[in-house]
């Protein structure tokens, strides 16, 4: 059960109060007891005084009677005469004083009797002197009756005095004990009360200190946020969730929207929107009040009436004790325009690609058919009209046929080249070594009489499009095969090496090579560095290789020397 701070303090004060009251009561009772005891002391002193007075009175009376017995002068009888009433009075007072103690009363009773008898005895002595003279009186005195009385009287008085003292001692001891207890209780109670008060005070103190620290931290944090808010490069503001008025805006908002901070204070968030946006705003506000959707794309309106597209992020806050919303507004007008432009270009690109596709398709059919006709009928001429043609005529027709076939090949190569550009790339792990081996086998199969040594590095793989990379190797190995045609024994290598952390693949041959001076033309479409008579080819192969390599993000280059072979290097990204 957790007790709140206020209850703890209330309980503490309550307990302290109770204890202090108890202490007060104890103190009061102690004082009363002390007064009572003072009374008891006085009481004892009174009793003792009365007892001594009694003794003195009797002694005086005795002395007086003795003196009278000796001298016969009645002047000496004065103490005796007054003794009676005096003793009555004293004994009467004693009776009152010891009324509460049965023992003392008993003693007092016997004392009273003794005293009376003593007085009577003395009376007799006096009477005898008066009547019969000294001798008779002396005899009375000697009889000792009177003397006998003296002992008990003294004893009784002594006993009463002692008893009274004892009583006093007892009461004193009693009082001291009670007083000590009361004192201890008072000390203890006071200390406990002080302790509780001290504890309560410290709790209050801690609580206050904690609160002060929290306030300071919050102020500091508010300061920081204020700074961030004011200096934010994004326009930001806080608006009242109910009235929709602007509560505070930052500098960026002033710049972006054109209103001064004072003007903002008079506006609601409706005023920064064009009229057609208001219904959507109302709908959103309901959602927002329920704690719903926070972000979105909006159209706003500046003071000068121009519109801007903004991306808005909002966040519920409490501002000045009222529910409000903090808004960050990011001008994305340009971005939206750029997006639209991008989409437009993308559409155009797609259209262009579609056109290319259609073009390639049409080329497949439409350009080949006439070529076939030219070639076919040329051959028909050669065959059927062989005898009517002279060697020159026949040769012309051969060249016609050769021309058409070459054109057919060009068309193939152009189609391949365009395919490379427009085909979608599917990236995968490609086994280049495997491909090279396959291509080498095909080259051998097509021309089994050649002696070519293939040195193909094993396990060379790369990330890229399998089809496209296959065409790269076909071209490079095919070239190597072609340009080593004139060597009786040739050597073609394929491998990979690492340069500056990048994997570089190469195809090397020891064939015709080329002059590095013309290396710049190497990869141009239809560019050739050799006469067709020496090595045929359309000049598309390397252009295709370059396009594929570039699509993979890599580079291709070559090193060669005439008749000393060539090495073609390429990287893929």
């Amino acid at each position: 059960m957790r007790i709140s701070l206020e209850r703890k303090i209330a309980l503490g004060f309550g307990a302290a109060t109770v204890i202090l009251v108890a202490v007060g009561v104890a103190a009061f009772r102690s004082t009363t007891a002390t007064i009572a005891s003072a009374g008891w002391v006085a009481h004892t002193l009174d009793v003792r005084a009365d007892l001594e007075a009694t003794l003195a009175t009797i002694s005086d009376a005795e002395a007086g009677v003795r003196a009278f017995a000796l001298t016969g002068s009645s002047g000496f009888l004065a103490p005796f005469n007054s003794a009676g009433p005096t003793l009555d009075r004293l004994l009467g007072r004693l009776h009152g004083l010891t009324a509460d103690n049965a023992d003392q009363q008993r003693r007092l009773d016997s004392l009273t009797i003794l005293v009376r008898e003593r007085l009577a005895a003395l009376q007799r002595v006096a009477a005898l002197r008066r009547a019969r003279g000294v001798a008779a009186a002396a005899r009375e005195v000697e009889s000792g009756f009177g003397r006998q009385l003296r002992g008990p009287i003294w004893a009784t008085i002594g006993a009463m005095a002692a008893a009274e003292s004892e009583l006093l001692d007892q009461r004193s001891a009693d009082l001291r004990t009670r007083t000590r207890l009361a004192r201890v209780a008072a000390w203890a109670g006071t200390l406990i009360a002080l302790g509780i008060l001290g504890g309560a005070a410290s709790l209050i103190q801690r609580d206050l200190a904690g609160r002060r620290r929290a306030e300071a931290a919050m102020r500091e944090s508010e300061e920081r946020y204020r700074l961030l808010f004011d200096n934010s490069p994004l326009p930001a503001w806080v608006f009242d969730l109910e009235t929709l008025r602007f509560l505070t805006v930052n500098a960026a908002a002033v710049t972006a929207y054109g209103y001064t901070p004072e003007e903002f204070q008079t506006l609601t968030i409706r005023d920064i929107r064009p009229p057609e946006e208001i219904p959507a705003l109302e709908a959103r506000m309901n959602l927002l009040r329920l704690g719903g959707v926070k972000d979105g794309l909006w159209r706003h309106r500046r003071k000068d009436g121009t519109l801007l597209e903004v991306e808005v992020v909002s966040h519920a806050v409490t501002y000045g004790g009222r529910p409000a919303t903090l808004v960050l507004s990011h001008d994305v007008t340009q971005r939206i325009r750029d997006d639209a432009a991008l989409r437009h270009y993308a559409t155009q690109l797609e259209a262009a690609n579609a056109e290319l596709d259609a073009f390639a398709y049409s080329v497949s059919h439409d350009l080949r058919a006439p070529l076939r006709s030219i070639d076919g009928f040329s051959l028909a001429l050669l065959e059927d009209y062989h005898d009517q043609l002279d060697p020159q005529g026949r040769q012309f027709l051969e060249r016609v046929r050769a021309g058409t076939q070459r054109m057919g090949q060009l068309i193939e190569d152009l189609l391949t080249l365009s395919l490379v550009t427009r085909r979608e790339m599917h990236r995968d792990t490609v086994d280049l070594s495997g491909l090279a081996v396959q291509i080498a086998a095909e080259l051998r199969r097509d021309d089994p009489e050649r002696h070519v040594e293939f040195v193909i590095a094993a396990g060379v793989t790369a990330q890229g499009d399998a089809h496209l990379l296959e065409s790269v190797l076909e071209n490079l190995l095919g070239n190597a095969w072609k340009y080593t045609r004139k060597h009786p024994r040739a050597r073609i290598e394929f491998g990979r090496r690492t340069e500056n952390g990048t994997a570089t693949y190469f195809v090397r041959d020891d064939g015709a090579g080329f002059d590095m001076a013309y290396a710049g033309k190497l990869f141009g479409a239809f560019q050739r560095l050799h006469a067709a008579a020496d090595f045929d080819g359309t000049g598309i192969g390397l252009a295709t290789v370059q396009r594929v390599v570039h699509r993979h993000g890599g580079k291709v280059w070559a090193e060669a020397a005439p008749d000393r072979g060539a090495t073609f290097y390429f990287t893929l990204a």
Binding site: S364, A369, P370, R372, S373, D375, F377, R401, G408
Partner: protein, 149 residues
């Protein structure tokens, strides 16, 4: 017409002549029926239009079908052939200049039996014709006539 005959669906007169020549050079003497576009081809096969009255049970040994045809193109002809019981089982060889993947896939999907590219080089074409003739006319056995239903 008795005996095995070939239906050649080809719009290009040059190609038509060269195909005739190629077959002849290979001593393939079977009759060659020419349809110049898809409509003619279908009319012939289903005995409609100008060919009304023809016995549809007389079916070609093989149909050499070009793809790019005016009016109704090759793939559409193929589709309709395969949809009709009378012609469903006829062997069709697509003989075309195109090697577009799309055409290959479409051709086979629609039920062509074979796909041969027409080479530019005529001597290659001759060789192709020889092999086609050998296979489809001599080696291959078509379904018995009238069994498409």
């Amino acid at each position: 017409m008795a005996g095995k005959f070939i239906l050649l669906v080809e719009d290009n007169p040059d190609d038509e002549q060269l195909t005739r020549r190629a077959l002849a050079k290979n001593n393939i003497t079977n009759e060659l029926v020419i349809a110049h576009d898809g409509v003619e081809a279908l009319d012939f096969l289903f005995a409609t239009g100008p060919h009304a009255g023809r016995d549809t049970r007389e079916t070609p040994q093989v149909i050499l079908l070009d793809l790019k045809l005016p009016r109704i193109d090759g793939l559409e002809v193929l589709r309709r052939l395969r949809a009709d019981d009378r012609t469903r089982l006829l062997p069709v060889v697509i003989l075309t200049s195109s090697n577009e993947e799309r055409d290959l896939i479409d051709g086979y999907s629609l039920g062509a039996n074979s796909y041969v590219r027409k080479p530019v080089d005529f001597s290659q074409f001759l060789e192709a014709a020889r092999q086609l003739g050998l296979y489809w006319l001599l080696l291959n056995e078509p379904a018995p006539p009238g069994t498409g239903a």
